[in-house]
Symmetry: C2
Subunit: 327 residues, 2 copies
C-alpha cells in the first residue's frame, strides 16, 4: 500500500471539510470553511475549496501530496470531473475538476460524497471484507453508494446511488429535486426537524421539552438537538427518531429486494443517533423484506468513520484513481 498522502475534501450543504489522509485511512491534518450560500456562483465555492486545499498542502508540504479527491453532494458524471446536478448547491453541468485543476498542481478527481463514503467504509471501516455493500448517508437529505466486489458502482452515467430520490409516498412531501414523496423527505435530518416543527405548529404539549431546549425559538431546532433530547430520555424525541428509522427500514427493504447486498452501512450526521434510529430501522426492515424467514438477510450497521468517511474515501479514490491497488 502506498504511503503517499492524499487530500480529501467533503463538500456538503453547510461546510467544506478537508483533510490530509495517509495510506491507512487516517486523517493527519484538517481544515474547514463554511459552504458559501447557494445563491453564490460556483466559482465562489471553487475558491473556498482551493483555500482548504492550499492550507492543507502548506501544513504537510505540497511535495508530499499525491492527489486531491473531492466528494460532492451531487450527481457527478462518470468522467469523475463534472458535477451535472447538485440539488443543494447551485451547480448544473459544472466542470469542477477542470476549474480546480487550473489552480492545484496535483491530480484531482471528483466523486459523489456517498460513493466516497462507501469506499472508505469498505476499505477502512464497517464494511471491511464484505462483497456487496450499500451505503446510506443520512444528512439534510439521503446519499447513497453501491460497492460490489471492491468496485464502486457508479452506473452508466455516473449517477447511481441517488436512493434519496426514490419515491416512497405517491403525492407525498415536496422535495428539493422537484418531485413529491422522495425517500429523503421521510428519512433524513430535514424530515426529523420538519416533523418536530409540525408538533410545534399543532401546539402539542408533547413537544414542550424540545421547545424548552431552543428557548421557544422554533427556527433554532436542529437534528442534533433532537438526538440529544432523545438520548436524555425525552419520549417525543425518541418517537421522532423511531419514525425516521421506520422509514429508513422501509427504504432499506426496497433496496434489499432490488439489490440483495450483504450489508447496509448507515452514515451521515443523523446516524449519530445510533440505535435510537437503527433499532426501528432494523425492525421495519425485517417486517418488510420480501421472502423474510426464507432468505438470508443483510446486516444493518452504523458507519465507523463518522463524518470523515466522505473525505477519507475521496482522498483514497483519488490516490488510486483506477481502483486497482485495493484491498
Amino acid at each position: 500500500m502506498s504511503a503517499r498522502l492524499a487530500i480529501g475534501i467533503d463538500i456538503g450543504g453547510t461546510k467544506v471539510a478537508g483533510g490530509v489522509v495517509d495510506g491507512e485511512g487516517s486523517v493527519t491534518h484538517r481544515a474547514r470553511r463554511d459552504t458559501p450560500d447557494r445563491s453564490k456562483s460556483p466559482s465562489v465555492v471553487e475558491g473556498t475549496i482551493v483555500e482548504v486545499v492550499t492550507e492543507l498542502m502548506q501544513l504537510v508540504g505540497p511535495q508530499r501530496v499525491a492527489a486531491v479527491g473531492i466528494g460532492a453532494a451531487g450527481f457527478v458524471a462518470a468522467d469523475r470531473a463534472t458535477v451535472v446536478f447538485a440539488p443543494h448547491l447551485s451547480w448544473r453541468h459544472e466542470p469542477l475538476r477542470e476549474a480546480l485543476q487550473k489552480r492545484v498542481a496535483v491530480p484531482i478527481f471528483v466523486d459523489n460524497d456517498a460513493n466516497a463514503a462507501v469506499w472508505a467504509e469498505w476499505k477502512f471501516g464497517a464494511a471491511q471484507g464484505e462483497t456487496h455493500v450499500m451505503m446510506i448517508t443520512l444528512g439534510t437529505g439521503i446519499g447513497g453508494g453501491i460497492l460490489i466486489n471492491g468496485q464502486v458502482q457508479r452506473g452508466r452515467f455516473g449517477i447511481a446511488g441517488e436512493f434519496g430520490h426514490m419515491q416512497v409516498v405517491p403525492g407525498g412531501h415536496r422535495c428539493e429535486c422537484g418531485n413529491r414523496g422522495c425517500w429523503e423527505q421521510y428519512a433524513s435530518g430535514n424530515a426529523l426537524v420538519r416533523e418536530a416543527h409540525s408538533l410545534f405548529s399543532a401546539n402539542s404539549p408533547t413537544a414542550s421539552d424540545l421547545l424548552d431546549r431552543v428557548e421557544g425559538v422554533v427556527a433554532n431546532l436542529t437534528g442534533p438537538l433532537i438526538t440529544q433530547a432523545a438520548r436524555d430520555g425525552d419520549p417525543t424525541a425518541r418517537e421522532l427518531l423511531a419514525e425516521i428509522g421506520n422509514w429508513l427500514g422501509v427504504g432499506i427493504a426496497n433496496l434489499a429486494a432490488a439489490f440483495d447486498p450483504g450489508m447496509f452501512v448507515i452514515g451521515g450526521g443523523v446516524s449519530a443517533a445510533g440505535d435510537l434510529l437503527l433499532a426501528s430501522a432494523r425492525e421495519t426492515f425485517k417486517r418488510h423484506l420480501a421472502g423474510r424467514g426464507y432468505r438470508p438477510e443483510a446486516r444493518i450497521a452504523a458507519a465507523q468513520l463518522g463524518n470523515d468517511a466522505g473525505l477519507i474515501g475521496a482522498a483514497d479514490l483519488a490516490r488510486y484513481p483506477a481502483e486497482e491497488q485495493t484491498g
Copy 2:
C-alpha cells in the same frame, strides 16, 4: 462461440416451457407442459421438468446437449442450485438442482427467470452492446434482472432483482409475498385484470366492451384480452394499460435513481402491449426522474426475445456457467 446445444426451461406460474437453444440463441426445438397446481408437492413440478427435458433430448439426441438451464420464477440462491422462496409456487428451500441432477445426465444450473432473461436480451436481443442493463419482466407479477459489464448481478445471496416487491404505496394492495403496496400489485398482468374487475364491480358502463368480450363471465377476463381490446381501440382498455404503464414509469424512475442503468428492457407477457404500455411508462419516467433535464436518461425498450428470453437465457447461462466465454 461454442456450437453445443443447451436446453433451457422456463418455469412460470402457469406453464413449464422448454427449448433446445443453439450457440446463436435460436430455439431449434420446443416442448411444454402446464405447471402443476401450487398445492402439489415440489416433486410433481420436478417430474414435469424432467418430462420436458427428456422430450427435448430425444428430439435432438442426448449426446448433443451440453447442459440444462432452469429459469425459475422465484428466489434462487447464489449456489444456482436452490430455490429458497417462490411466491407463486410451493417451493421453500427446495434443492432443485440436486433433485433434477439425479434424473438428468448433463450439468444443470438454476437461475431466476428474469436473470436468465436479462442475459438473453443482452447477448442476443434488445440490450446488445449495453454496459448497464435492467430487465423488468411483466407477467402475473414483476421479475427483474441486473446486468453490469456483461455479468448478471445476483447480489450477495443470489436474490437481487426482486423489483416487484419494492413498496410503492404505503398500506397499499396486499401482495402474495405477505406485504402491502408492492410494485407488482400496480404494474403487472394481475394489476391490469384487478383494475378491470373493479370497473365490473362498480357496474361501470365504460367496461361494457370488455364485458362483452368475455360474454359477461368476469372470471374469463385476462391480460391478453384487455390488450387486444386496447389494440381494437376500446378507450377503457387503453386507459387500464396506460395506468399500468404509469406505475411502471414510477418504478423505473426509482430504479434509475438507485442504479442509473443505460437501458431498461421491458419483457414478459404484458409487454406484448407495446407502446400502449410503454408510451405512458416513458412519459411518467421522464416526469419522475430526479435531476431530469440535467442528466442523461436511460432508454426504455421492449424486449426482443419475447416469451423465449427466459429459456434462451437459462440455456446459455448453463452452457457458460462461469460466464467467461461471453460477449
